[in-house]
Each structure stands twice: as structure tokens, then as C-alpha cells.
């Protein structure tokens, strides 16, 4: 049994509470629908996220392994010299997107490719470095996509949790309390009404006896 609110059992209070209950029920329904839709969207993103992360991790691991290998075979300074001035530059244009009124980031990759894919002469380093850099270049797009989706997932999960709290608060606290109070006030008012009727009948019978 829900705790009843501490209000005076008056007609005015009753009307106010009934209005409030109507709003609460409507709000609850809307929030619940929102939550359902958010979870549906979230699952789509989460599945994408999982697949993308698996791919990125696997490919990145391979690329980094060959990079480490290249470093091991060649002179350290040669490698540093080779990569320290990249020929291509990467910039992002970052905007935001609205998913279920959660503001999530959206990235778009701009690459200014230099003349060569590899910013060094082939003589100084081994083929492993070529491999790793070529894979990494391909992977860029996916990594940015992963960043976008992972962030979206994060934020949606947060929002879903918050929303669930709201739904639960309405469903298990606010609505039962209001209903309970409305019942209490109705009963109290009815009781007063009955008391009044009885009193009137009594007075009437006393008056009738006197005549």
C-alpha cells in the first residue's frame, strides 16, 4: 500500500490531485514508449559497435604487430625519420546528431593525401612498415566510425538508464501515491456527506416529534 500524501481532504485538493494523476499517467506512458524506442535504437548501435570493434581490433593488432616488427629489424632512428613527417594530413569535421533527443557526435573524415602514400624512401626501411602503414590508412575510416558509434552507445545507455529511473519513479511512487490519496479524500468526503445526511434526518425527526 502506497503512502498517502499529506494533504487536506478537501474538494479543491481532490481536483488538483486528479489533474496531477492524469498528467502522471500520460507522462508515464510517453516515457515508457520513449524508453522502448531508445532500447531498440541502442541495440542496433550496440550490435554495430561490437562488429566494428572486432574488425578494428583485429586489423589494428596486425598492423601494429608489423610496425613493431619493422622497428625491430630497422634502425630506430631510420624509422623515426621515416614517419616523423607524414605526407597525408587528417582532419575531421565534427558535428552533432540528435538520436532520441540525445546529442551524439558525428564525424566526417577529411584526408589530404600527399603525393606519396608512404612518406619515406623505400631504401631505408623494410616492407613491414609499408604494410602496417597501408593497413592503418585503410583502417582510419573504420576507427573514426567506431569512435562515433561507441560514443553514441555510451550516451544512449546513460540516457536509457536515466529514463528508466523516471519511468519507475512515476510507476511505483508517484502514481500509486496519488491514487491512494485520491481514494482517501473521496472516502473522507463521502463520510462527511453521510454524516451530514444523518444529522439532517435526525433533526427532521426531532422537529417532527415536537409538533
Amino acid at each position: 500500500m502506497a503512502e498517502r500524501l499529506k494533504v487536506n481532504p478537501t474538494r479543491m485538493e481532490l481536483r488538483r490531485l486528479k489533474d496531477r494523476l492524469k498528467t502522471a499517467v500520460r507522462g508515464h506512458k510517453l516515457l515508457k514508449d520513449k524508453s522502448d524506442e531508445m532500447i531498440r535504437r541502442f541495440m542496433e548501435y550496440a550490435k554495430q559497435n561490437k562488429v566494428l570493434r572486432e574488425q578494428v581490433e583485429e586489423e589494428l593488432e596486425g598492423a601494429l604487430k608489423s610496425f613493431v616488427l619493422a622497428k625491430a629489424v630497422s634502425d630506430e632512428y631510420a624509422i623515426q625519420e621515416a614517419v616523423v613527417m607524414p605526407s597525408s594530413q587528417i582532419t575531421l569535421s565534427a558535428s552533432t546528431k540528435n538520436v532520441m533527443s540525445v546529442v551524439v557526435p558525428q564525424f566526417e573524415l577529411h584526408k589530404t593525401q600527399g603525393e606519396d602514400k608512404y612518406p619515406y624512401s623505400y631504401g631505408s626501411v623494410t616492407a613491414e612498415l609499408d604494410d602496417s602503414i597501408s593497413v592503418l590508412t585503410e583502417l582510419m575510416q573504420k576507427m573514426i566510425k567506431l569512435a562515433e558509434i561507441e560514443k553514441t552507445c555510451n550516451m544512449l545507455a546513460d540516457e536509457i538508464e536515466k529514463n528508466r529511473r523516471r519511468v519507475n519513479a512515476l510507476e511505483y511512487v508517484m502514481i500509486p501515491q496519488t491514487e491512494e490519496t485520491i481514494r482517501y479524500i473521496t472516502m473522507k468526503l463521502d463520510e462527511n456527506e453521510r454524516g451530514n445526511t444523518v444529522r439532517l434526518m435526525k433533526i427532521k425527526s426531532i422537529l417532527a416529534e415536537k409538533q
Binding site: 610496425f67 594530413q89 569535421s93 576507427m143 552507445c153
Partner: protein, 108 residues
């Protein structure tokens, strides 16, 4: 719309690879330095890639940026291979949102 930059935080050896393809790289040698780097880069960069071991160590700093759209901080596996930390995060998200893990439980 704003112009975003990409940063990579990790061991000196590893981040050279990312330098070669035109990302901005920042070397971290210990956890404290890494935390400061994250705080600094969060203001200027849209995406920060960070190697898993550091991401794990700086979790409390990273979690601070989880609820805002920027920056997106993404853990990436280091040269030694993936520790599954990134997957763990997806799993946590799903658990948080749905209440139970319905995406990964087939494998467990």
C-alpha cells in the same frame, strides 16, 4: 559543426605508427602524465584514441567525459594484442541499458 582533430595517446614506440598516417600523437610514460594529457586534449580534440592499458588506468578521468558528445575517447589495442577491455565497455553499456547482457551471452 566544428573542426576536429584526432589525438593518439600511448607508448612512444607504438604511436609512431599513427604519426605516419597523419594523426597527432602524444607519448605517455606514466599514468599521471596520461591523465594530464587526457584533460588537456579533451578541450582541443574531437577524438582521442588511447591504448587499452592506459585507458584502464585512467578510467576515472575518462568516465568524466562519457556524458558529453565531445571528446570521444576510444580505447585501442596496443601492440601486444587486445586485452578485451574495449569489448568489456560495450558489454557494460548493454548491461546498463537493458539490464542484462543480451549481446554477448552466446559466447559466455
Amino acid at each position: 559543426m566544428r573542426e576536429g582533430k584526432i589525438a593518439v595517446i600511448g607508448d612512444r614506440d607504438l604511436i609512431l605508427a599513427f604519426k605516419a598516417i597523419g594523426m597527432e600523437t602524444f607519448a605517455a610514460t606514466d599514468v599521471e602524465q596520461c591523465e594530464n594529457l587526457i584533460k588537456k586534449l579533451a578541450k582541443t580534440h574531437a577524438v582521442i584514441f588511447i591504448t587499452e592499458d592506459y585507458a584502464k588506468a585512467c578510467e576515472h578521468v575518462i568516465s568524466r567525459y562519457k556524458s558529453t558528445a565531445y571528446p570521444a575517447i576510444v580505447p585501442i589495442p596496443s601492440g601486444a594484442g587486445s586485452t578485451g577491455y574495449g569489448m568489456e565497455n560495450i558489454k557494460k553499456d548493454v548491461e546498463k541499458a537493458v539490464g542484462t547482457d543480451i549481446l554477448f551471452n552466446k559466447e559466455d
